[in-house]
Point group: C2
């Protein structure tokens, strides 16, 4: 295989990408017009949960089953080839197709919202105030089974045409990752409350 980009379908690869991605893009269609919106997601086992405004909008605009496509993308690097044509990016992405169902049971909503907070920052749900019932009632939640899912991964150096390897142009990969700056305390934070250990240093990848 000359191309280093290919589909991967094993469940572990798919779950790892879904869990590392801080947010997803949800696609849905209204009268033939596609919409793509970013939102936070969380995975519990084989279910992907979406909540809040995005779920609300989809529930309002679509009657019955909500056909969606959820995509997450992790950018791993710029691939700088010797030719313009072979420039690329290293990435890991997942696409899930399916029909989302509205979550109405309070307990499942509670689990989903806890998972969303844990997804953003592991351990956070133990220190933040848990949702009140009116908050749960005010939150729309959708669940999407992770069954029709696929992953794509590109990694490694550029792949140039054989003749171009003689060019004197620098070629290689610039690895990229999400980095945190210093935590910014809420201006109304009471004095004496320490910054959580998970924030300094913070790393998305274990």
């Amino acid at each position: 295989m000359r191309r280093k980009e290919r589909g991967r379908y094993d469940r572990d690869t798919i779950n790892a990408i879904l869990d590392e991605a801080l947010y997803c893009h949800v696609g849905f269609s209204v009268d033939g017009q596609p919409f793509v919106q970013p939102t936070i997601h969380a995975r519990i086992g084989e279910q992907l949960y979406l909540h809040g405004a995005i779920a609300n909008r989809m529930l309002k605009t679509l009657a019955g089953g909500v056909h969606v496509c959820v995509s997450v993308t992790l950018l791993d690097g710029l691939v700088l080839a010797r030719s313009a044509f072979h420039h690329s990016m290293n990435y890991r992405s997942v696409m899930i197709l399916g029909v989302a169902r509205e979550v109405t049971a309070l307990e499942e909503k509670r689990r989903a919202m806890t998972a969303v907070v844990e997804h953003v920052l592991a351990g956070r749900s133990a220190v933040a105030r848990a949702p009140h019932v009116p908050e749960l009632n005010a939150t729309s939640v959708l669940a999407l089974p992770i069954t029709e899912a696929s992953a794509k991964v590109r990694s490694g150096p550029p792949l140039d045409d054989e003749a171009d390897y003689a060019l004197s142009c620098w070629a290689g990969v610039l690895p990229l990752q999400i980095a945190a700056l210093a935590p910014e305390p809420d201006p109304r934070l009471a004095p004496g409350i320490a910054v959580p250990r998970a924030l300094s240093p913070w790393a998305r990848r274990g």
Copy 2:
């Protein structure tokens, strides 16, 4: 306004977000099933260009005008509130709706591909080998007018319920940005070719 998230529609805000985002998510619909795929984009004036496999797939699967939604999202930080319910993210996003046209003129294709390379790394098109005509012919390019476009921006600290400000939970923002690690030279790079100045240090924001 209590919420710090709102729509913004001025052209400068929209263009700046499109230009900073390294990639976009393109949504299109086939027989009612939405698809969302990540791809590299580039802006020239009021046109957004998409190319390669994504354009190819859309051109193959859709007859006539290609209704698309292009979304880009820049993640600026985790918003850690005192309550699980008010956790959020700081971000800047743009959504463009419209009908993409296939670019067939060789000169426009050439300009679009140059713009894509410049979008990935400014100055790169001057050092990388320019596309040959067969490469241009082999590349599908779509152009989308940036007319029906909107931006959304959330910034600033968490917004908790008034009663929750008394909790002893740390609250604030963890600012995030894309960071580069050390460039990885292609294993086949000839000796004596220096790393481009734009890579060390690299920063996406000017």
